[in-house]
């Protein structure tokens, strides 16, 4: 089995009395796509935020690419990237300007060539000179993906990568992610509400509820375990606590 690129052990995040993430542990194997599922407020974004070093854990250990986050962030961040529809790029800068700024932040060489290649791959050539704020949601998604791929990341964390996209654009993004993973061997962790997306992309699924990982496995495992045909029904069962086997602690499942 591939070694784990992301290792999370007993991770907890409290905001005052609120326990947003409650002693979760999981690993993400190298070169895999893992889905992080859960309803609103389940703790997905908080978990991603801690993995990215944007939020500090209350307790627990995060290890990415063999280094501890946040203590060794400078060793991790050059090889990691992230995209989220809830974090913008500066609206008034053109797409090319934004990509140039981030290319310098990641210390890339051959910036013009890298942007040219990415623009061709992601089909964003037409709006490189347009202000980022003037783009449609689909165009912004492609640009966000371009920014996330600038440094050829070994680890890609994606928060709802196809949220608010039309089916055609969403399909295009999923196809691109599959290809990127296959070509580069990158490890991808994605938080999503889209069950079709998860079923298509993910080798492993972690389902969170109330800050805990309540179940995990391959999409096929989960369908079998819950006796459902669609992952969406599994999601609803778990969200409504009709799981039958999970005790709500997330510790009933073997990793």
């Amino acid at each position: 089995m591939s070694h784990a690129v992301i290792k999370v052990d007993d991770l907890t995040k409290c905001f005052g009395a609120l326990v947003a993430v409650d002693r979760i542990s999981f690993t993400v194997p190298a070169g895999s796509v893992t889905g992080l599922l859960g309803g609103n407020g389940a703790g997905k974004t908080t978990t991603l935020s801690m993995l990215l070093g944007l939020s500090l854990p209350t307790s627990g250990v995060i290890e990415i690419l063999g280094h501890q986050m946040p203590r060794e962030r400078s060793r991790i961040l050059p090889r990691l990237n992230f995209s989220s529809p809830y974090v913008d790029l500066p609206h008034r800068l053109t797409v090319a300007e934004n990509l140039t700024v981030y290319a310098h932040l990641y210390g890339l060489s051959g910036i013009a060539a890298r942007i040219r290649d990415l623009a061709a791959e992601l089909d964003i050539n037409r709006f490189l000179t347009r202000p980022t704020g003037s783009l449609s949601a689909g165009q912004k998604s492609r640009v966000a993906l371009a920014k996330a791929l600038l440094n050829r990341p070994r680890v890609l964390l994606l928060d709802e990568p196809t949220a608010s996209l039309d089916p055609d654009t969403a399909d295009w993004v999923r196809t691109y992610l599959e290809r990127y993973r296959d070509e580069t061997g990158a490890t991808i962790l994605l938080a999503s509400h889209n069950m079709d997306e998860v079923q298509r992309l993910c080798a492993q699924v972690l389902v969170m509820r109330s800050g805990r990982v309540v179940t995990r496995g391959t999409p096929a495992d989960l369908l079998g375990r819950y006796g459902r045909d669609r992952l969406e029904d599994v999601f609803i069962d778990i969200a409504r606590d009709r799981d039958g086997n999970a005790d709500g602690t997330g510790r009933a499942d073997a990793a």
Binding site: S49, L52, S55, R73, L77, F82, V87, R92, V101
Partner: protein, 276 residues
């Protein structure tokens, strides 16, 4: 060159690249936004004209002002250095808040320290671009050149820039803590200190208690020094040393406060979700 020193040099190059990246980011923003450019130059020029005319009037009606031509013009230009320096820091920070870009920035290898340095450099650029045209305009309009202050002008400028930086750091730290709801802090921070900075009048005019407060501010020493050069043609080294010393202490304190508030923002998860 040892391997360790090579690694350190490579690390320094990357740091400078990241600072340069942030300079580019603010430059791109400024060059494509004419309202921002106009705003940079507009207020210093209006202030200079207003105080220039007051200076002209008082020069013939006040023996104090008559002793040193342009004392009020120099004061307003130097005051604007302090204001532009502070607001330059705060605005760079607010641009990231407004554009919800903090999450992307701090997922990149950029460190808070590098970001602070880049904001300081942007504030320097904004101050020069804003105040220089007003200073040049004062020459033909009022026949007064602030550059006649000579080398001391550089000492005053540097001290006021540094004071603006630490005030900006405190303001941005507090906005980071309380969100955009505290945005007004960015605009009012420097004005809280204006009455006790002795910009247009000597410290001796203030009540005794406020004089004590004034002497704790680098700005008071700068403006007293400015008047000493204008009225007595001497550069008070004591005031200069005190201004430098106070600035170093306050800058260190403000940097520590900013980093602490940044750390708290990370604990609260506020870097990913910024707003009111």
């Amino acid at each position: 060159m040892t391997m360790a020193s090579e690694a350190a040099a490579a690390m320094m190059v990357l740091r400078l690249r990241r600072i340069y990246a942030m300079e580019l980011r603010y430059w791109y923003l400024l060059r494509r936004s004419w309202p921002r450019l106009v705003d940079l130059v507009y207020w210093p020029t209006i202030q200079m004209l207003l105080w220039g005319f007051i200076n002209s009037f008082l020069a013939t009606n006040s023996s104090w002002v008559a002793q040193a031509g342009g004392v009020l013009i120099a004061a307003v230009l130097l005051w604007d250095v302090l204001f532009r320096s502070q607001i330059g820091m705060a605005l760079s920070f607010l641009e990231e808040m407004w554009s919800r870009n903090l999450g992307h920035l701090f997922v990149s290898p950029l460190t808070p320290g590098e970001w602070v340095v880049s904001m300081m450099l942007v504030s320097l650029m904004r101050t020069v671009v804003g105040v220089l045209p007003a200073a040049l305009l004062a020459m033909p309009v009022f026949g007064y050149s602030v550059f006649d202050l000579g080398l001391p002008l550089l000492a005053f400028f540097i001290n006021l820039m540094v004071m603006g930086w630490w005030l900006g750091l405190i303001a941005t730290g507090l906005i980071l803590r309380w969100g955009l709801g505290a945005e007004n802090l960015a605009w009012m921070a420097v004005f809280i200190l204006a009455p006790v900075s002795a910009v247009y009048y000597p410290v001796s005019v203030l009540p005794p208690l406020l004089q004590g407060v004034a002497w704790l501010l680098p700005s008071s020493h700068v403006f007293e020094g400015m008047r000493a050069v204008q009225f007595h043609h001497t550069f008070p080294l004591g005031d200069f040393a005190l201004a430098v010393g106070l600035n170093l202490v306050y800058l260190a304190g403000a940097a520590a406060l900013f980093l602490r508030l940044f750390h708290q923002a990370q604990q609260r998860g506020a870097l990913l979700v910024t707003g009111e």
